[in-house]
Amino acid sequence: MKNWISALMLACVASVGAWAGGGPEYSALTIKSALSKGADAVIRQEEVQFTVLSAKSATEKVRQVVTVLNADGKEHATLVVHYDKLNKVDYIRGTVYDMTGKKVRSIKNSDIRDYSANGDGTLYGDNRVKVVEPTHSTYPYTIEYEYQTTSSNLLFYTTWAPISGKKVSLEKASFTVQMPAGIDLRYHEQQLPEKASISEVNSKKTYSWQLKNVVPIETEQYGPPFYELIPMVRTAPTTFEVEGFAGSMESWKALGEWQNKLNAGRSQLPDATKQQVLTLTQGLATPEEKIKAVYQFMQNRTRYVSIQLGIGGWQPFEASMVDSKGYGDCKALSNYTKALLEVAGIQSHYAIIYGGDDNRPVIKDFPSSQFNHVVLCVPTPKDTIWLECTNQMADAGYTGSFTGDRYSLLVTPEGGKLVSTPKFTAQDNTQKRLVKVKLNSQGGGVGEAVTVFTGRQHEDRTEVLNRLKPDEQLKWLYKATDIPSFEIKKFTLEKVKGVPQVNENLQLELPRVASVSGRRMFITPNLMNRRQSVPLTTETRKHDVVLTYPYYDVDSVEFEIPAGFKPESVPQPVKISSVFGEYEAKVNMKDGKLVYQRQLTMHKGRFAPDRYAELVEFLKKVSRADQQQVVLAADSI
């Protein structure tokens, strides 16, 4: 009898166990404290099933169960499903559960909102979203969603990244991809504890991944971006077809060949335009001159308009259309410029790239659609010139923070080729400044600051020059100038033609450049380039230290001192050097003038986590040196 009871109980426990292991858990009470610590929401279960039916179509079936722990986690209860002409939403279902896992209500069709997802900058696109924003007043609560989408744009396969944000932990998640018979999946894994498990039935392969018990992932100052830290599986097709255009992604070459098909026959230009190009370029001696002339010709007769049409948004408008309308998006304008250059006898390549200063690295050994922008690459015997065709004011050849220092997929007649755009060192991104200050005995003064900005450091001011009117430029300079109290009496900003350089001249009134106390005057000789804040010190640095932006600053400040004052205290020269950069500052008296000189070089690089403390120390020393003061004292009274 006793045995019988225990056997029954064992059976019960076993069945509960089996249920807990298989189906989703809705009760918030069973979340382990290790997972709820520091989390606003917990992904209880996420199952994504991606089924490739053919080169033309696939379905994605998703089930996710999320427990929202507090009000800050509300956004993780929101479901956003993107769709467009080639991606349909088959169904969306949802259920809200209370803290104990008891069903509260189902999501109704009227709860599903439908919005345009084109964004402000886009004139036309067909991106839309279906959004469910459930509200529930008591935390924690749990929400379950099931939905399915069908895609006929297999240029993109699914990317699986179940950790949807910071302060989110995960109990379990799985990703399954089922391929058609005889076709392999191409994939790229990141931050995964276990590699894919692959099974095969009737020559159909199934790939699957599992993830369990992931605590919240945090980013750190000077650390890698969030998307590099989360577990992720990117998948891509071998062969695919979009709106009748078939292609392969087995290699970059093949992907380029597909783009060639899309671009084919789209470079026709009217004779009148051809004639204009010929007249314009005939007399020019070098290819460089011709390229510049054609580029400016294009800039003067077009404007950038974002219209996402054609083959999933990947086919450019015809060159003739751009010619007659005078507008186009990045694809259309690059294709148009390519056609114009061809008339002038210059070959160029349509270059697909990731545009943005976050410079997301291209995964080189994983040919796939990793880009969002198109530029034009013009090889010349001397150099390669990159043309940004969506900017009517850019210099030919400048890439900078938007497209510089990264890989681009060139679409050449022989297919795709992955090549690098220009790289930059600190010496390319400089700020060189000379300030002359005439100090009076009340601590006030007048000054002139002449600064030359190059490379990335010239970009802001070029934008200011291009976009703002003079009175707004002055307002911007007031904001950008870091002096405790000043007036800009006069300014000039000048973009140097054809080079990435801006010259700035500020005529300054400095009513309180020195602080007067009794017979003493205190001056911080680093007038305009002080590092004010330093990164937080942490005891536990987890991730690499990443410096993305190399630069070089030189400051010279000369103070003409009022009669009767002599230096009482002058800071010692400072020289700091580290793997991250070098710093040097010194103050001297020279011909009766107080002369301050400072140089700071910051490098680009990636360093092990344990070097973080060194970086903080380096920046602290720099900051401290930047605040040092000179004390001038009047001859005794």
Binding site: T135, K325, G326, K479, P484, S515, R520, V534, L619, Q627
Partner: protein, 679 residues
């Protein structure tokens, strides 16, 4: 967005038969689609060569583009439905490359469902360029016109003009036919680019009485006139019957000329408050031989309407379902204010705000049952709770800062967008919001500090200034010991009360205490801070307090002269008012007092060589006052800095003195104490 609310079902029901014409008319006759063309200087396609040749705009040579003219005319159409018609022509000159984007034009419109919608019709456009001294015209084709459905209700027609270059003139005209005839489109006379001519005409008919409400900068009208004429309108009774009626039309015309570009400045409430805008509010619907239907005329009527509105005042009636809870909450309390506090606290703590800012509510009972709702659900619920407990409370309509200032001269519902609960206890007014858990009792949320709020109380309501009455204090004290090497050790206590505390509590809620304190640790290289302690995070009526230890890094060797910056890390190092001139008022939003007191124990064997001098400056009527005092207190040196901002808004005329006061404050805060080793 327009408020369709109560008028939706109003449809024209013509009973009048004046001239019957028994002819089949297949076209729909339009009322005042009056031929104003001959007196209208602006016609589509009639661009002058001077406009195309123009290189700069003389009145603003820096303009990137210029609205040569912007013209619109509103009318009413009558067929078997009443509709509004809005005709627009806009002509823009592109002067610089950055002005090219002006050639992309967006037309917002609205649809409720298939039978209640707006349609954008007859979109036409031309681009004019000068080629070889000839004006060449390019037509806008259909492939340059797009439509975007933003959310099922709000629609956008987007137009991109062809062949636009620097120097081009672009011109677009369109007509909007609207089923929402009671919503007469507003008109803004100013934009981010200058406008040479902006004209609006409204052809009013006697059936609808619209109030005209003008807001923004009082920029003068170049023309403001009206004229009357009689128009014969045809009304289809059936396919074979058509009635005619004579209608007196009053055409109003408003023109502004040479309106400069809109400018932005820091510390501004809301730039759109300044845009000269003409709006219309439907006050009366009266069809012939029918009783007039007053929509909003007087404050009495407006009040009555609000209090009987099913989505506002009606929500407060029959709130018996709250009785039991209300009694539990106030049980044992005799003092009215205590009861108010308890009820407010209860609503605040039990109701979850869904983040939506609203002014009307469908069903506060349902919100109460679900324990979640929009801002109006929650605050109306609070009013209902108070009323149900026998306390005189009313809902108060507010326009948030983002929404612009409300019109105090004329009752217009869509000038409001938020509700607060208004209570008066013992002669004192309390404005209550129960949506923000960090808000102390009686404190006005930041977003509501915007002009005046209107209390919906019989008979005619009343305006109450939306000024916070709370004390806004920042009080920082520090006790430091100075070592002969220039190293400083100190213990600091910071107290925040009022808005600064509210802001900090919001950050603490977001980050958690641990993270918050981590972020507090100073990011200045000269100082190291430790031993943080945070108190009163939950005690909302108490000051939020932080205590910590700080150490300033100095030299390793003793120095004969020591220079001390006495303001610790609380010195204002930069004047927030950098620009020398100002066009719009400076808005601090709330008055505040910031007092910093630091005491220094001098190192043994050192004496004071020089000290900053005491200072006291203020603006007239002590609108803002700064004082700085250095004194010996016993053996210690004490430095006290106090800034009292006693009013929220400073006019442009006060700007120069405000800026100078801050200049002096910044200078004073950078001054040093000099200590010398006794010889």
């Amino acid at each position: 967005m327009p408020q369709w609310d109560s008028f939706i079902s109003v449809r024209m029901k013509f009973k009048l038969i004046k001239k019957s014409v028994g002819v089949a008319l297949w076209f729909l006759l339009i009322i005042p689609a009056i031929s104003v063309a001959q007196q209208d200087p602006f016609q589509l396609g009639k661009v002058s060569p001077e406009e195309v040749k123009m290189k700069v705009y003389a009145l603003d040579t820096t303009a990137t583009a210029l609205v040569l003219y912007d013209y619109a005319e509103s009318s009413f159409l009558f067929d078997d439905n009443t509709q509004g018609q809005f005709k627009r022509i806009i002509r823009i000159k592109v002067l610089k490359k950055t002005g090219l984007d002006e050639a992309n034009i967006e037309i917002p419109f609205y649809k409720q469902h298939l039978n209640r919608k707006e349609e954008v019709l007859d979109v036409q456009g031309f681009t004019y360029n000068l080629e070889n001294d000839q004006v060449v015209k390019t037509k806008l084709e259909n492939n340059g016109i797009f439509e975007d459905d933003l959310d099922g209700n709000r629609m956008l027609k987007k137009i991109t003009m062809p062949n636009v270059k620097v120097g081009s003139v672009v011109e677009v005209s369109y007509v909007i036919i609207s089923d929402f005839f009671h919503y007469l489109r507003e008109w803004k006379f100013q934009r981010a680019i200058p406008t040479a001519w902006s004209e609006y005409r409204a052809n009013m008919v006697p059936f609808f009485g619209f109030k005209q409400v003008f807001s923004g900068q009082p920029f003068p009208f170049h023309i403001q006139e009206s004229k009357e004429f009689v128009h014969s309108a045809g009304i289809n009774k059936s396919i074979t019957r058509r009635d005619y009626v004579d209608v007196n039309v009053t055409q109003f015309r408003w023109v502004m000329k040479d309106v400069p570009a809109l400018t932005l400045e820091p510390f501004m409430t809301n730039m759109y408050n300044h845009v000269p805008t003409l709006e219309f509010d439907l006050a009366l619907i009266q069809f012939p031989e029918q009783k007039p239907n007053y929509i909003t005329v007087s404050w009495q009527d407006f009040t009555k309407e609000r209090l009987t509105d099913s989505r506002f005042g009606r929500q407060l009636i029959n709130a018996g379902y709250l009785k039991k809870t209300a009694q539990e909450v106030i049980s044992g309390k005799t003092d009215t204010l205590e009861k108010v506090k308890a009820l407010w606290d209860h609503v605040k703590n039990t109701m979850e705000w869904n983040g939506k800012q609203t002014m009307l509510s469908e069903n506060i009972k349902k919100a109460f049952e679900n324990r979640t709702g929009s801002s109006s659900d929650i605050n109306l619920l609070l009013v209902a709770f108070l009323q149900e407990s026998g306390i005189m409370a009313s809902p108060m309509l507010v326009s948030t800062r983002q929404h612009g200032l409300p019109h105090t001269k004329s009752p217009m519902l869509n000038k409001f967008n938020y509700v607060l609960a208004y209570v008066k206890v013992g002669g004192k007014e309390y404005l209550l919001d129960a949506t923000n858990k960090d808000l102390p009792f009686g404190m006005l949320p930041y977003k509501c500090r915007n002009g005046q709020g209107w209390v919906a109380v019989s008979p005619a309501g009343k305006w109450v200034p939306l000024i916070g009455t709370e004390k806004n204090l920042q009080l920082v004290t520090g006790k430091f010991e100075i070592l002969p090497s220039g190293v400083l050790h100190g213990a600091i206590e910071e107290n925040y009360l009022g808005m600064s505390a509210l802001n900090k509590r919001a950050v603490i809620r977001e980050l958690g205490e641990e993270k918050y304190l981590q972020q507090q640790s100073l990011r200045q290289a000269e100082w190291e801070t430790t031993s943080y302690q945070l108190s009163n995070v939950q005690m909302l009526q108490q000051p939020l307090q932080t205590k910590y230890q700080a150490k300033r890094i100095g030299e390793t060797q003793p120095a004969s002269v020591l220079y001390i910056s006495p303001m610790f890390t609380h010195g204002v190092s930069e004047n927030p008012f950098k620009l020398t001139a100002r066009q719009h008022p400076v808005d601090f939003v709330y008055p505040e007092e910031k007092t910093f007191t630091f005491t220094y124990q001098l190192p043994e064997g050192y004496e004071v060589e020089s000290l900053p001098q005491n200072m006291s400056v203020s603006l007239p009527e002590s609108a803002i006052k700064f004082s700085y005092v250095v004194q010996m207190v016993g053996k210690n040196l004490q430095v006290m800095s106090r800034l009292q901002i006693n009013k929220a808004i400073f006019n442009p005329e006060e700007y120069a003195s405000l800026r100078e006061l801050y200049n002096q404050l910044v200078a004073k805060h950078s001054e040093k104490i000099v200590l010398r080793k006794k010889s």
